[in-house]
């Protein structure tokens, strides 16, 4: 079960009926129960066991840290908690390197969302230790915080202080909130099923058989992978936030038009915001941040992004990907004064639209090159693809039908392009701070409903699902 499966929506309907029928005080129990059901269906019994085990373990540690007066013991308890959680995460992620472990242990499948809930519980313990939050007394409420199903698969990595404000309240039904939540869900589904899953077909083909193709196909696939990730992750974030909103739960913003970023630093303020801020608060700043000189700042940046790479997946190519992003930022900091000087020399104003567009394009290219390492199976595969892109020119493929032979035909390709344009127009409006849903809500009911029904029918007719299509998991679900 994932967020775009039919069974998920059936579950959601049952949850809504039950949630809004029980007394306010008991609503969090309903959410907890359904979260376990979701995890069971999505990841199996072992996922439920591991997630609940982690929740109980960190709950107990959190309570002990609060009770303990000695700073040293508090520190020890914190270290036990952090190392324990990281240890389990490490063993599961890198279990191929632990062949000495009993086969029964190795055969346990990785619990879903382990990368996300692990960071969540670590932040919980650290925040308690730092006395930024109080430890939750009610174990069921804490378990709900850890296992809340709309964010368990792909985040956002919620902080206890932020999420608990709305999660346990049992907020009553609001028609307006329901409609707005549903709109987000449908838009998320459109991004995932019409764009991301269609682009994935081309990407999978070219990345699997790169040597058969020329630079045009490889560049096309690399761009499409960037778009696939954007639509996949953005779509999932929209679904998560939309579903949470139906129940009055406010999830943190996790995705803010990242491809409109004008620098890689700006990109990380927009892409997976909750992860970026987690790494900043619990890795970069504790390492010293930018307080200990320029060189140390660069080293800290590199360490933070290398950890980010390791968190995303197993393999050297993920480390290279993280390293590239660290390098981009270090380089960006070094050349920033020269860039400004060049701008002044060329009489280019800071608010120039052309400069802005140029920066957006350059940022996209840098990020997209790094995505090749992210998507590839190994560093050598990524380098091979980049080499093809740079040397094996076949421009004629732009004019003949070669691009329609990569798994999706002409009609599907153009349909995908139309929806990509729509997605970026919508995000451009977001970027311009235009509240689209509020704008649509201001239209007459005929126009409004026509838009809603059109998107809904587009998902049903043009979405990739059903027979003959291997439903793609949300990409971040695998991290």
């Amino acid at each position: 079960m994932t967020y775009n499966s039919f069974s998920f929506f059936v579950l959601l309907v049952f949850l809504m009926i039950l949630y809004f029928s029980v007394p306010k005080k008991a609503r969090y129990v309903v959410l907890l129960f359904f979260s376990q059901v979701f995890i069971w269906f999505a990841g199996g019994k072992s996922s439920v066991v591991f997630i609940c085990g982690t929740a109980v373990f960190t709950y107990v540690l959190g309570r002990l840290i609060v009770r303990e007066k000695s700073l040293g013991i508090q520190k020890t308890l914190l270290a036990i908690g952090v190392l324990g959680v990281l240890g389990v995460l490490f063993v599961f992620k890198y279990k191929t390197y632990f062949s000495f472990l009993p086969s029964r242990v190795l055969s346990v499948s990785i619990p879903i969302g382990i990368s996300f809930y692990s960071l969540q519980v670590i932040s919980y313990l650290i925040d308690i230790y730092r006395k930024e939050i109080d430890a939750e007394r009610n174990i069921l409420k804490y378990m709900l915080y850890v296992t809340w199903f709309p964010h368990i698969l792909q985040g956002p990595i919620a902080r206890f202080g932020q999420l608990s404000q709305t999660l346990f309240e049992g907020i009553g039904f609001s028609y307006d909130r329901f409609c707005k939540g549903l709109q987000l869900v449908i838009w998320g589904l459109a991004q995932k099923m019409i764009i991301a899953d269609r682009a994935a077909i081309v990407v999978n083909e070219v990345f699997a058989n790169g040597s058969r193709y020329g630079s045009v196909q490889v560049i096309y696939a690399a761009i499409l992978y960037g778009i696939e990730l954007y639509a996949d992750f953005g779509g999932c974030v929209n679904i998560s936030i939309g579903v949470s909103r139906i129940f009055g739960v406010q999830l943190a913003d996790n995705f803010r038009q990242p491809y409109f970023a004008t620098s890689v630093q700006d990109f990380w303020r927009r892409w997976h915001i909750s992860l970026s801020s987690w790494l900043k608060d619990y890795v970069y700043i504790p390492l010293g941040g930018n307080r200990k000189g320029t060189v140390k700042k660069y080293v800290n940046l590199m360490i933070t992004f290398l950890i980010s790479g390791m968190w995303h997946g197993v393999g050297n190519h993920f480390i290279v990907w993280g390293g590239l992003h660290g390098f981009y930022q270090v380089l960006g900091s070094i050349v920033r004064p020269y860039k400004k000087r060049l701008q002044r020399l060329c009489h280019v104003r800071e608010d120039s639209r052309l400069l802005h567009a140029f920066q957006v394009i350059i940022t996209f290219i840098l990020v997209d090159v790094a995505w090749v390492f992210f998507r590839a199976e190994s560093i050598s595969q990524a380098c091979g693809l980049l080499q093809i892109a740079a040397t094996k020119w076949n421009l004629w493929s732009l004019w003949n039908d070669d691009l329609y032979l990569l798994g999706i035909d002409r009609k599907e390709t153009w349909l995908m392009i139309i929806f990509i344009v729509i997605m970026f127009v919508v995000d451009y409006w977001h970027e311009k701070k235009i509240a689209i849903r509020d704008t649509i809500a201001g239209y007459s009911i005929v126009v409004r409903w026509t838009i809603y029904l059109a998107i809904l029918m587009a998902v049903i007719l043009f979405g990739k699902y059903g027979y003959g299509f291997n439903a793609a998991d949300f990409i971040y679900m695998n991290f």
């Binding site: 028609y175 409903w449 029904l453 007719l461 027979y467």
Partner: protein
Amino acid sequence: MQMKNFWKSVLFIFLFCALFSLATILVLNKTERDTKGFYQQRENSIDVLFVGSSHAFCSFSPILMYQELGFTGCIRASSCQRSWESYTLLEESFKYQKPKVVVYEVMSAFQGEPQYEAFSREIYDTMRPSMTKVKGIAADIDGSEDLDYLSMYIPMVRYHERWKSLEKKDFTYMSQKNLLPYKGYQLSFDIDPATEYDAEMYNREMEVENCTQKSEDYIRKMKALCDEYGTAFVMVKTPTVYESYWDVGKSYGMQKLAEELGVPFIDYNMGDNAIYIDWSKETCDKGNHLNHYGAEKVTRAFGKWIDEKYDLPDHRDDEAYLDWQTAGMEYELAIAKIKLKETGDYLAYMDYVNDYFAQNEDFVVFITAKSNILECMQQEHTDKLVKLGDDLNYTGPGARIPNIFICCNKQIVEKKQQSDGIIEDYTIGGHHFKVDCQNTGDMEVCDIYADGQLVGMNAIGLNIVIYDLKNEQVLDSCYAKFDEQQFLNIYRY
């Protein structure tokens, strides 16, 4: 305010469901064989209902039975139909029809398990929602890896990708009134002879072969259901020499079961009821199924037997059954369309033209000729043209002047002869036609265009183009010419 929002939500859901249903209908139109046509039959108007596999829809022609014997029939067969599917279709049919006899073509008893997805969908995709459908789908899904509940109940899940291949006709399909033109019979004139079958296959001694328990259970349920409605149940095996599908052992098995059930079993392959099938001409796929020529034989034999046995009513003069007469005319027209294209004899060809196409508003007949071919024709040849309405009043011998004759729905649209050629435009049945006949010495060329498309490019002898206005395509384009023995024959380019 809350009530207002509630009703708004209800309206939105209703609109969504309406759109969803419409879209489902659109994508479902691509399914080749379906059950929609059955629901268009007038309630309680069917005397004999056929269920079973493809052997049933290839072997019985209900319209032929109506034309020759007067009773009505409908075939609810589907490819590789399983007996539990036959049962489901029967149960569903009884909601709308009260047939006097149910005929079960027993091939389906041995079709095995599980059902293939495509064949299951022939039955369930367009079946109306009901518990019958729910139970039927469950019986099909039982043991199948191809089928899943969600896409069986909501076919959009399976077919949404068809948006890519939607055509104009898919948007008009849902408004078509007659989706079961031949009452379920599949009209096929294909000939693919059975060359390697064992002529003695039905004379061999074999052990009794029983069908699976599941099949038998559902056959018994069919019999019980018929008893409940006071309907006779008949088991039939139509002719086949496809040994991998049918043999003596299976026939014995069905005979035994029929005896246990106390119902007749008519076996057209062996025993007293065996009928002669010319397997070199009367099969469309090497002896597995019959083509129209074979089906006519089986239909006549079975029609006669069932009519006598159950004293079925004759509706031929019944005004309530006028739609069957119309269906009969359409059936004949469909046969004529195929036979016309197979005919090489001028006289027979012109009979089809006169009887079916010249007096039908859905067809235009173009005849162009060099005037001197008319000189060579005998009375019997020219009579066919006169019957069309052409008075043959053209310029005398050897003039070699192009002439043209166009008729549609018994009306003469054009009759013209011009020495310097004919270039004219016509609008017939909403379509634009252009005739461009030029006299260029030895080469007389006559091009006929329909809606800008070249549909006839004739030059030799008497040229005939029959254009199908309804389907917007040429039905036939040919020319008549005398052969060396001075027979006037039809030739095609």
